[in-house]
């Protein structure tokens, strides 16, 4: 082994080539930790729900949580439409991808599933003139700008499952209800048991 490597190097050198051996590996960062990917999902949410009025940051975080963890989507749809007659239609129209399971190991949140990196993502989109902010705190709304809208049109083809989920909610998205399901119903349904064992 050593000998053949030596021969390779000497033959390269004989041809006036300098061997450079680079053992550096790139840092493997998966899409969920990439700002381009995460912010594209925010554009998707803003492009699909309440496009004209915009959404609050908290609701964006809630919907992003559902897109990140598709295992909770079905429960969300049932809770959101439970007083509607269209529930069964919505469930029929919902076509989840094959690999869905509820991940009980996710970090459990207390109020809203807020990720510190959301602020970076909003900045990322804002400096690219994709976002507009309207209103004042605490009623700050996030909207897509015209360029954001164009960007949305270009990327929506790529996110088939995500679009399928977001399409179910039509143009009028009730934010209060969504936040309630995410902050109250889902934690109680899935991990209230864990909480008890944690604190007892």
């Amino acid at each position: 082994m050593k000998l053949s490597l030596h021969r390779l190097v000497s033959r390269l050198e004989a041809n006036n080539l300098t061997p450079e051996i680079n053992l550096e590996r790139p840092l493997f960062i998966q899409p969920e930790d990439r700002i381009t990917y995460r912010s594209a999902r925010i554009v998707l949410i803003l492009g699909m729900l309440n496009r004209k009025l915009g959404l609050s940051k908290e609701v964006i975080a809630c919907i992003d949580f559902l897109l990140r963890n598709p295992g909770y989507q079905k429960k969300f749809i049932i809770e959101y439409f439970k007083e509607h007659q269209t529930l069964h239609k919505k469930l029929l129209a919902y076509k989840p991808s094959e690999n869905i399971e509820i991940d009980f190991n996710i970090v459990q949140y207390k109020s809203v599933p807020w990720d510190l990196r959301f602020n970076d993502m909003f900045l990322f989109l804002y400096v690219r003139k994709h976002l507009l902010f309207a209103g004042q705190k605490p009623n700050l709304r996030v909207l897509l700008s015209d360029t954001g809208q164009q960007y949305f049109e270009q990327i929506k083809e790529v996110f088939i499952d995500e679009m399928n989920f977001l399409e179910l909610f039509g143009k009028q998205f009730i934010e209060g209800k969504a936040t309630e399901i995410i902050t109250e119903v889902i934690p109680q349904a899935y991990w209230s048991q864990n909480e008890k064992t944690d604190y007892q």
Binding site: E24, F28, I29, T36, S97, T147, Y151, Q154
Partner: protein, 671 residues
């Protein structure tokens, strides 16, 4: 080589009150300018052409119920309800002329076809109907099939991101000669249709239309995939057969040789194991002969049986525990693989959006307003992060995940095999336990057993040994019968390897180098004329075409799109599309499929100067006559500008109220 020539577009709209509206525009070869102010219908005219060719996906329309036209084409015009509306397109391929008709309201998923001109269409009664969307577009009655045949293009399958393959559609090729006005001017092939998830679609379409030899790489890849699928299936079968031998014989494979593990002999090759067992058999036969004359103490016999029962019961418990543990491990490995699959999907999405994601266009510091250097010394000049920290690209991620998945799958397979073996052992221990219990019961109830027990035990042992030898002999035969399957896999792997080498050869094709070389020269000439980068010749002469990505122009030292302004971006696009046309016209390679047509919808909306359009038109004038067709929609508020290209105007809208659709008097012959 066939061309695509647009001869004529006719709109026909009828209202409930019986009024007729319409438009009729004739085109010729060479440059055709559609001239008029904003929002009077220049783009609607283009929409009609694209719509009749079934290319509405390139206009951003993906669902049947969405209509690419403005409401005055299908809903109400002058406050009257529209009852009938359709567009007729006359196209030629250089030798044949046909007309394509498509309704703008109601049933829009079919296109009518007549082999005649619009002028003579009355005398040809038969209309053939072609499927324009959904399933069947490539069937004998499909629009795609017709268009490919009309243009003498091959219908091809190309690889997709989900490891399958998809047809290359007309709307995938359209973005190389049609630029749509809203989103089309943002990048090369901006309106490319991503929904068929064709792998590197922009690259593939370029190679297809420009007739590059390396397009065959994609076809070879499909062939390779079929071979690889077959290898995988054979390997799975082989694995199954081998497992069926390995499990009962408690075997494993080392360098292709079947090894048997036994408690008393250790790990030996199957031949050696059989030999050893035969020797044991001979020895034990002698023991039996001696035993038959000796009788043993009955009590000690019974005690030894009870001890054995205890040991066996312990083994049963241990094996059962091991089965549970293995099942848990297998579940967790399956979970890992699942997660890897989800991450793979996300990486593919990331890869696609990275092509679209707009870069931040900052040339000065937002705080001190000083110009920013292209690179700081090893760090980002804005946020001072280390540039050396190389972050993986989605492709690298995919490779990494694939690797990870392969190793997990290997472990998973090993664990599954172990599980099956352990279950088999558990079963055997249980049987031993049962027979021991029965023997003890029998001895207790009859009191005759103890005397004969040792003798009987030896006979049973001999019997087991004999059976084991038989089993191993059979396993050995079966194992060598699998060799034909192994050879088959080897041969397929060799074929796969040779295809891989062939792909390499395509990459170095001379034809391709000539064509790409002439494309670069044309592109550089065009940008020079259009004064890109304020005409800096040093930079322009170093522009190259990126063969590894989507054949987009690039500079080695700078990001071409970052150092250029938004009007420069349009200059790059105009030059690029024109260079495609010039290269196709001048190429003698019969494989080039470019239809020698450019449809450019209002490049001027993107801050382009009037002067640039005039220069561009100048460049077009230099193309050989009758060799191509260019349809350009534009407008200028300067009368002197208009005079410069007056001869090319095929249709003009004179004011902002001069709409495309006009009422046709009932006594007109057109009606």
């Amino acid at each position: 080589m066939k061309k695509l020539i647009i001869n004529r577009v006719v709109y026909t709209v009828e209202t409930v009150a019986g009024k007729s509206y319409g438009a009729d525009v004739k085109f010729s070869t060479g440059l055709n300018i559609i001239y008029g102010p904003n929002s009077v219908g220049k783009s609607s005219l283009i929409t009609g052409i694209i719509y009749c060719l079934g290319g509405e996906k390139c206009l951003g329309v993906f669902q049947n119920k969405q209509n690419p036209f403005k409401p005055e084409f299908y809903d109400r015009i002058n406050n009257e309800k529209i009852t009938k509306s359709y567009v007729t397109l006359e196209v030629s391929n250089g030798s044949d002329t046909v007309i394509l008709m498509r309704s703008i309201i109601n049933k829009t998923d079919v296109v009518g076809l007549k082999k005649t001109t619009i002028e003579n269409s009355g005398s040809v009664p038969q209309t053939r109907y072609l499927i324009a969307s959904g399933d069947g577009v490539f069937s004998s009655e499909g629009l795609q099939a017709f268009l490919f045949k009309f243009l003498d293009w091959d219908i091809v399958d190309v690889p997709t991101y989900d490891a399958g393959y998809s047809k290359l559609y007309f709307e995938n090729l359209l973005p190389l000669f049609f630029v749509e006005q809203r989103a089309g001017w943002s990048q090369i092939q901006a309106r490319q249709v991503m929904r068929y998830s064709i792998r590197e679609v922009k690259k593939v379409t370029f190679e297809y239309l420009m007739g590059l030899d390396r397009f065959d790489i994609h076809l070879t890849e499909i062939k390779r995939r079929a071979i690889q699928d077959r290898i995988q299936k054979l390997k799975r079968d082989l694995n199954d057969y081998e497992e069926r031998i390995l499990v009962p014989a408690n075997g494993s494979v080392e360098n292709g040789v079947l090894m048997i593990r036994r408690k008393d002999t250790g790990v030996l090759t199957i031949d050696n194991t059989i030999k050893t067992l035969r020797e044991q058999y001979q020895e034990q036969i002698k023991d039996v002969e001696i035993l038959s004359t000796v009788s043993e103490d009955a009590d000690s016999q019974e005690n030894s049986l009870r001890r054995k029962l205890r040991i066996t019961a312990h083994r049963v418990r241990k094996a059962a525990d091991k089965v549970n543990l293995l099942m848990q491990e297998i579940a967790s490995y399956e979970n890992y693989i699942n997660r890897i699959n989800i991450n793979k999907v996300k990486n593919r999405q990331l890869k696609k959006i990275e092509g679209i994601a707009p870069e931040l266009n900052i040339s000065t510091c937002p705080v001190c307003e000083n110009p920013l250097p292209a690179h700081g010394e090893g760090e980002c000049s804005l946020c001072h992060q280390d540039l050396k920290r190389k972050i993986s690209t989605p492709d690298e991620n995919l490779e990494f995940l694939e690797d990870e998945k392969a190793s997990f799958e290997k472990i998973l397979d090993a664990k599954r095999l172990e599980l099956r073996k352990t279950r088999y052992q558990l079963q055997q221990h249980k049987e031993t336990e049962k027979s021991l219990t029965e023997t003890i019961d029998h001895q207790l109830s009859t009191y005759v057993g103890p005397q004969l027990a040792a003798y009987r035990h030896k006979v049973v042992q001999l019997d087991t040994l004999d059976k084991e030898i038989e089993l191993l002999k059979r396993s050995k035969e079966k194992w060598s019968s699998l060799n034909s399957l192994r050879n088959q896999i080897n041969e397929l792997e060799k074929e796969d390897e040779s295809l891989k080498i062939k792909v390499k050869e395509y990459e170095e094709s001379k034809n391709d180098q000539t064509l790409l070389g002439s494309l670069v020269i044309n592109f550089r000439n065009n940008v020079r004329q259009l004064r890109l980068l304020k005409g800096k010749d040093v930079l322009i002469s170093t522009i190259k075409i990126d063969e590894t990505d989507s054949y987009a122009p690039y500079l080695d030292e700078y990001d071409l799109y970052n150092i250029s302004s938004s009007s420069d971006n349009v200059r790059i696009l105009l030059s690029y599309y024109l260079a495609l046309l010039q290269t196709a016209i001048s190429s003698t390679n019969p494989k080039v499929k470019f239809p020698n047509l450019l449809i450019l919808d209002e490049p001027k909306q993107q801050n382009l100067d009037n002067q640039d359009i005039i220069t561009f038109i100048d460049l077009l004038e230099h193309l050989p006559k009758n060799s191509c067709q260019v349809i350009l929609t534009t407008f200028s508020d300067q009368k002197k500008d208009k005079n410069l290209f007056k001869q090319f105007i095929r249709h003009e809208m004179f004011s902002e109220y001069d709409y495309l659709l006009k009422e046709i008097p009932s006594d007109s012959p057109q009606k």
